[in-house]
Symmetry: D2
Subunit: 363 residues, 4 copies
Amino acid sequence: MASNSFGNLFKITTFGESHGIALGVVIDGCPALLPITEKEIQYELDLRAPGRNTYTTPRKEKDRAEIVSGVFEGKTTGAPITILVYNKDADSSKYEAIKTLLRPGHANYTYLEKYGIFDYRGGGRSSARETVARVAAGAVAKKFLTHYKIYPVAYVKALGGILGEAPTGTHKQISKKIYSSPIFCGDESQAKKMMKAIEKAKEEGDSLGAIIECRVLDLPMGLGDPVYEKLEANLAKAMLTLPATKGIEFGEGFHAANLKGSEHNDLFVKRNNKIKTSTNNSGGTLGGISNGMPLVFRVAFKPTSSIKLPMKTVDIKGKSKTFSLPEGSRHDPCVAIRAVPIIEAMTALVLSDAILMNRCVKI
Amino acid sequence: MASNSFGNLFKITTFGESHGIALGVVIDGCPALLPITEKEIQYELDLRAPGRNTYTTPRKEKDRAEIVSGVFEGKTTGAPITILVYNKDADSSKYEAIKTLLRPGHANYTYLEKYGIFDYRGGGRSSARETVARVAAGAVAKKFLTHYKIYPVAYVKALGGILGEAPTGTHKQISKKIYSSPIFCGDESQAKKMMKAIEKAKEEGDSLGAIIECRVLDLPMGLGDPVYEKLEANLAKAMLTLPATKGIEFGEGFHAANLKGSEHNDLFVKRNNKIKTSTNNSGGTLGGISNGMPLVFRVAFKPTSSIKLPMKTVDIKGKSKTFSLPEGSRHDPCVAIRAVPIIEAMTALVLSDAILMNRCVKI
Amino acid sequence: MASNSFGNLFKITTFGESHGIALGVVIDGCPALLPITEKEIQYELDLRAPGRNTYTTPRKEKDRAEIVSGVFEGKTTGAPITILVYNKDADSSKYEAIKTLLRPGHANYTYLEKYGIFDYRGGGRSSARETVARVAAGAVAKKFLTHYKIYPVAYVKALGGILGEAPTGTHKQISKKIYSSPIFCGDESQAKKMMKAIEKAKEEGDSLGAIIECRVLDLPMGLGDPVYEKLEANLAKAMLTLPATKGIEFGEGFHAANLKGSEHNDLFVKRNNKIKTSTNNSGGTLGGISNGMPLVFRVAFKPTSSIKLPMKTVDIKGKSKTFSLPEGSRHDPCVAIRAVPIIEAMTALVLSDAILMNRCVKI
Amino acid sequence: MASNSFGNLFKITTFGESHGIALGVVIDGCPALLPITEKEIQYELDLRAPGRNTYTTPRKEKDRAEIVSGVFEGKTTGAPITILVYNKDADSSKYEAIKTLLRPGHANYTYLEKYGIFDYRGGGRSSARETVARVAAGAVAKKFLTHYKIYPVAYVKALGGILGEAPTGTHKQISKKIYSSPIFCGDESQAKKMMKAIEKAKEEGDSLGAIIECRVLDLPMGLGDPVYEKLEANLAKAMLTLPATKGIEFGEGFHAANLKGSEHNDLFVKRNNKIKTSTNNSGGTLGGISNGMPLVFRVAFKPTSSIKLPMKTVDIKGKSKTFSLPEGSRHDPCVAIRAVPIIEAMTALVLSDAILMNRCVKI
């Protein structure tokens, strides 16, 4: 089953394994005449890169984006855009020792059962490393969105049970706050507590979960298509394809289930000569279509499955074993942090697709 | 943009408006030789039907499923299966008076902006009535799943802030508990409180939200495809295409964000000669593929947007108005209740699709 | 496998069996605000109708198009458009006697082997009657194309080995010539010979093949997408999905294989301030994209498989039998004639799709 | 518009420009556990390679297939398989001089009009060089087909108006005859005449067209899906996506239009305890589904558009010019010859897809 593509018109296909030769993406359907450079793509990859600081994995790999096709004299041509990121210095030897063990929270068991074969080196295709290809593609989508003045921003909303305030201001101000935080959290004082919690979890050989919020402030009306291509539906799918995600909610989300209609309904008002709603409990959509209010959603991430603490498990024959991370393994105490630019990327891809789809709705 | 289809191989296309001639569905890709009758489809439609009791809308319409194609001598032939449900006695006249008003929580504004035209009668294509087509299709999918001994069961988990216990037992026992409850809630004592809350909301002209949980007890391993056709991703998309949904979570869901890795990781054990996990925090999947544990997810529904209380709004020109439901309007105080069979239907469609996709993964 | 849909953005899904309740089509992706009436659809169905004269099947059925969804106050709304054509007076009893015989040139054998079940009544889903749904959908597509001043015209180019001249003039003049001919052939004198050949074949209980040519005179540049959505590729697929088709060729087609490059290359010239080619050997495309010259292609139809002459065959167990058409069977001596409006319909669908796709190629 | 993918379940996406960094393909949906090596892919690339002899272009490029993902320990894993072919020594400088000229028979004009930008170096994405990616993918598909004992064989059937006999025997014998011919023509004596014609065309600075026939001897029954995924329809689409193709026909093809039903109908007989047809005028399908007889079709290729003879043309502003191939240009006098392995590749892709689709038709 062809299952490595995402999107309808602005469509990506990703490929590559964690410890293979390279990861990459083919973007098919990006409109022609969009100026794009490797530098712009690299900028996004660097945001996602591990080893930015002590709060993410200390791996020192430097991912380099290489545009292989689809760009001519600095502009897209309408041809498929291929971006490659070569894997460097991947040391797969340490995976040999654990290749027959079922790793708690990991996909090696289900992949092996499904396919009868598993590239266990670094998690192969199931590795979160696949997301490097999404971020590269997202960089192109983000550039496309600038032509519509659309800027998705994501940030850590909660981490290890510590809740932060959403940053306010323009998208530029929000981005600045987020990207200047070592853990992509715009709430400085709460971020300090979160960082302490991470340090503690690290010491204990444990890991933490988090909630990432994403906002798109100036989303125009009309994006999203009824009935099965609703904007939320495609965003939900996009986010739940990310490793370690356990849920998504829009606007008031699960809390909406506790409200009354008279509390939850956003009332229409005229503001600055535009029709808006007085509140934004819906999170920016009505009937699956953007309504001109900010898009708001949150994604729940489980704590990193790879922890230093030993865990009970079985091997592929069902024999009891203890799983310990191989010596020298480097892992994130909280994978959700690095998910921030990835969520921006996936949001950009969904919105770019919605923009193209929206070109076809009227004669 | 073609946006009225769902699924890859077991694929549905729905059509029809709330107050049009009929609603319907074409199921394309249902395997041949499946025995199916109109009676089996009708059974599911009746579960979804409004007017079962005081806790749902009192409309007395009786939806009748008619198989128009694809079934010969009681069995599917591999040809597209079309099921029609004719609309009866739809009185559209009362919508005339409110057709220029923006309805809070409704899609008429965004549809009108997007398409430049809107079939306002009963909400047209944006109406929850579209789900009758999904339930009809879901009945066929459920029948298909019985060949794999797969039975999705959904139920009210929380309503108006009142939490219920998930029913336990076999899928048959669970179903019996759920379907014998007027509000599809298997927890009898909590259900009573929920019903009181509904009665109160009704009296106040208000509405309530709810959380529906869905379980699939005996789901075999291997369903779901990496990377962009993960089982959770397709379920998330399926659920977020439903009207009034605001979020979805799997296993521990948003709560997982508060846990440590050592708490959340499900450990592998051998039980009855099968490899299982000792806990099921993940909700039945690993790496997007079912792992042999029960599938568990929850869907958040906002309170019904249509309430009897008058609401401030504007008309399409932005002029301030008050919106009141037309006399004689009949609406659900809690739409989520009727969503129970719909969620089962959508789950059945996703799983049927996953089963077919899973036939193609090995040489 | 979902295999009853055609098109990417302007997408149809057809359903129904020859002797079932109804045939129909769901058009998903037709832009909103297109004025369309049942009368306009009926006009096209009437062109396809059998029994227009002695040269086609004498069946007197009258197909009636009914719009079930997607049109509101005379215009499309962006919602899926469903059109139903109910089957009337289908007498399936005579198929009982021949249901175990393999019919030469028919699909009952392959369907039965593939699916293990076959709706043998009138050929079920394999019947050419399915094309009534295409013509209904094509009527909507044709209407859409009028907004771009695009008018596909098809006609009999050769029949029973008798070659006709292609009609010349504007699309209106061509259409008039074609539709005033009982056999859709614009070459009056050759049409007479063709009609004689049909009468003779009929007397002999035999049937004839034909070649249908299609032209689109004022096709704008830029339709068709490289590499796998070339205009010719999608037209070729469209035509080869039609029953009884055995080939397609564009421009000089198979004859081009006998030419030299210096003979075949169309040279660019400036004419009326537009860049055109001096010849049109390519048939209106370059690199899969329309080049502003008339689109020209031809489709080969085999002679009708159902003939009155008895044929040797076997039954499903392989036992030798003689196949004779049941008494009172009414069949076309040349199915290709009725294919003329069907080819126009399929062409209109491909072009409508290409127009929408072409909206997404530039930023 | 995403238009660089082909196939439903066994799906390819190709990318890369003629003079870009590399060409490549992502194969998504190839089942796991298929043994495949770079050597096997290289074997097919070498067949397609130019410069095999005097009858094809003398370019000495040596294309090297590199597997970048999807293969682990010599077997496919179910992950997307990426194959790269780097471009070497591409000299784009000579294209500078002709970049504003409309090349007769080429796509530079239509691409430029459609996209507003064109990578003119070597034809960019419109170059026949894109087919190297198809052949690489086709090598994987061919390997997959060996598990079903399916072997497509293609050969030159006619060239420059000279007709050859189709080679007979087993697929191995046929392959041997074809691949030992410098022009992939199994009819030795006619091949000599064809080669003389090529030499003459070369001397004259001209080019020739050809017809390639493809046969699949042992195709099992049941491949192909009604109504819009008929085997012929998908083959027709596949072939018409190839550069320089002008038509396709199945079995008796266009000649069938001259036959009577009594002549054309293939009669069913029992042979070696199997149901077959006494003739194979249909070319191996009935109702779009393979019927157990050999699949037979022919593809028409126009003469190479690039010829040494100067041609009249205009530049992009419409000014009259003469087009001459740049000094040192190396071009095929008959591109159709090198299409032989490409047609085998495309056939293998269509059949692999049909095999997977056929796994989903019964419960």
